[in-house]
């Protein structure tokens, strides 16, 4: 993270967009490449910090093993949940064909 050259190329942006399941137009790809390069250059600041043997901190307030009883709870609001589905049939979400 120390070179001053571009951090991310247009091809990498296209690759990441596939991972993120986003289709970018040519204009979006250009702008995204510029924006992300700006932002990543700023992120180089992190390289200045010595983090040898520093444990990563994933949560602000540590809490562990939050469990609830393994109990059966009736599920009643199927129709309300399906009401938000773009397409549904009976009690199922409908999607484009998955298996040929």
């Amino acid at each position: 993270m120390s070179d001053k050259a571009a951090k991310i190329t247009k091809n990498e942006v296209l690759y990441v967009s596939r991972l993120a399941r986003l289709d970018l137009t040519d204009t979006e790809t250009e702008r995204m490449t510029d924006n992300i390069n700006d932002i990543l250059s700023y992120m180089e600041k992190l390289g200045e910090v010595d983090t040898t043997n520093v444990p990563p901190m994933t949560h602000a307030i540590p809490k562990e093993n939050v469990m609830r009883p393994d109990a059966v709870v009736p599920f009643t609001d199927t129709s309300e949940i399906l009401a938000n589905a773009p397409e549904s049939k009976n009690t199922l979400f409908k999607v484009p064909k998955v298996i040929e």
Binding site: D23, I39, G47, P56, A60, K63, N84, P86, F93
Partner: protein, 486 residues
């Protein structure tokens, strides 16, 4: 009495004395919203019928002596808290028609006290932004000058409170989204200790940083609203199991002997002179009340922003993976599309530019080969920053600093340059990374008539110290923030 400019405690007193009632007050607010909201776009949706029905119930509770301070109080709710049967959009096209089948815990708690929701307030799409310009439903305008942004992402809630379009509001704060708009609009905004307010039913942005909090006209209201929404919730596994005091009891304890830290890293390059001046006046005011002012250092402040803009988008890219057009939200599908085509089309058509940018950043930071250099590194810096704060709070009870480096800027000014907008969050992200509470309190106006806020930070669960100092400042500050003329 002027109903719309009342605070929660003033309106509650008026109800008790019979000067007005919840139905009359709600009608008055709805009329004002109808008149003023078109020029501000503070509300995305006005829920007049539900509000009036709730107001009638509240009126009955008052008659039956079954009321709390919040009974019949008209509130605005940021549009990322799920409201059963009422569209909740998160400022996004992808959720434009989403009607939650359940209430967020905060909504349930407020309803239990008989509070009245007037409507859902505007916000940056998925709470990503510092200006409320990224909303699919158009930007919100600053009531103090409508050419300016109100701050973000809770800009709709902030503008609604500042413009008297509600008595108080709820916002959410992932990197400063309550405190920064509060500062820009001249109101009080509190981001509580992480885990004190349940996130159940809050549309997730960055789960380890998000926290709901009150946005109010004065400090007492912040204490009232916060006391009502805080507390353990078994449906949120990050919810803290601690007793919630009545925070209003801390207000008039004064600041005698309170140790107030002034961090040198918050007063350097990039800080607007007038902001610095107002903030230092507030520090002097605390000193005048018997507080002891102590210089402190938070060396990793400089790196907090970079860590934040790795961690927040990383969590966002994961949280927003659920928007695939299958179970809810916008779907764009063409004949012969595969499932993956449908995911891609729906996401690309449903998300706006800022959300896409952050999903991309997060996906990149978490991808193989970059994980160690970016995400892991950011989490390590987060730990060091948290250690810095712990060391500082060993010496002081409260840290006083600016909420934002400048006052509000003009609409459109930073749209093409996301990094410059991100830099405005430099003083707020620290609290989210470390989970500590922070509040913005009005400190007066700059020479152009734009509000400035002073930020008060405390250690985890140190809200008591924030409320003591904030209330003292409110009672004794040299400069008041006048209401916007609308």
């Amino acid at each position: 009495m002027d109903i719309c400019s009342s605070t929660i405690h003033e309106l509650a007193t008026a109800y008790r004395n019979g000067d007005t009632d919840p139905v009359a007050a709600t009608e008055t607010f709805l009329e004002r919203i109808e008149r003023i909201n078109p020029s501000l776009n503070a509300y995305i949706r006005i829920t007049a019928d539900t509000a009036l029905a709730r107001a009638k119930e509240a009126k009955k509770r008052l008659v039956n002596n079954d009321a709390t301070t919040l009974t019949g109080i008209p509130l605005g709710i940021k549009d990322l808290m799920c409201t059963r049967g009422i569209t909740t959009t998160c400022g996004s096209k992808i959720l434009e028609h989403f009607v939650p089948p359940y209430n967020a815990t905060v909504i349930e708690r407020l309803a239990g006290q008989g509070a009245v929701m007037l409507g859902k307030t505007n916000m940056d799409e998925f709470a990503m932004g510092s200006s409320t310009e990224s909303s699919y439903f158009g930007p919100t305008r600053n009531p103090h000058n409508t050419d300016y942004i109100p701050g973000g992402s809770s800009g709709g809630s902030a503008a609604a409170v500042a413009a008297d379009l509600c008595c108080a509001a709820l916002g959410s704060d992932t990197g400063g989204s309550i405190r920064q708009p509060a500062s820009y609009t001249g109101i009080v905004g509190l981001k509580p200790t992480y885990g004190l307010v349940s996130r159940y039913g809050l549309v997730a942005f960055a789960s380890s940083l998000d926290q709901i909090g009150p946005m109010t006209k004065d400090v007492r209201d912040a204490a009232i609203l916060f006391s009502a929404i805080a507390g353990h919730d078994k449906r949120d596994s990050t919810s803290l199991e601690v007793d919630i005091p009545d925070y209003t009891e801390f207000l008039d304890r004064g600041v005698q002997g309170l140790r107030v830290g002034v961090p040198k890293e918050y007063f350097g390059e990039g800080l607007d002179e007038e902001v610095e001046g107002r903030v230092m006046e507030m520090v002097k005011t605390l000193e005048g009340g018997g507080a002891k002012i102590i210089d402190v250092s938070i060396p990793r402040t400089e790196h907090a922003l970079a860590a934040y803009y790795i961690i927040a988008p990383s969590e966002a890219s994961s949280n927003l993976a659920r928007y695939d057009g299958v179970r809810y939200g916008f779907r764009d599908t063409r004949p012969k599309d595969s499932l993956i085509d449908m995911f891609r089309r729906s996401r690309s058509g449903g998300f706006g530019p800022e959300v896409k940018r952050r999903i991309m950043l997060g996906t990149y930071a978490l991808s193989a080969g970059y994980y160690d250099a970016y995400y892991k590194k950011a989490l390590q810096v987060r730990r060091l920053l948290s250690d810095d704060l712990e060391a500082a709070f060993a010496k002081v009870d409260v840290i006083a600093c600016p909420a934002a480096p400048t006052p509000a800027y003009k609409i459109g000014e930073k749209l093409e340059d996301p990094l410059s907008m991100y830099l405005g969050d430099v003083y707020t992200v620290t609290a989210n990374l470390a989970g500590i509470p922070g509040m913005s309190v009005p400190a007066g106006l700059n020479s152009q008539g734009l509000p400035i806020g002073v930020q008060l930070l405390a250690k985890p669960l140190g809200e008591e110290h924030i409320f003591r100092s904030a209330y003292y400042l409110e009672q004794n500050r040299p400069h008041h923030t006048p209401k916007p003329s609308l």
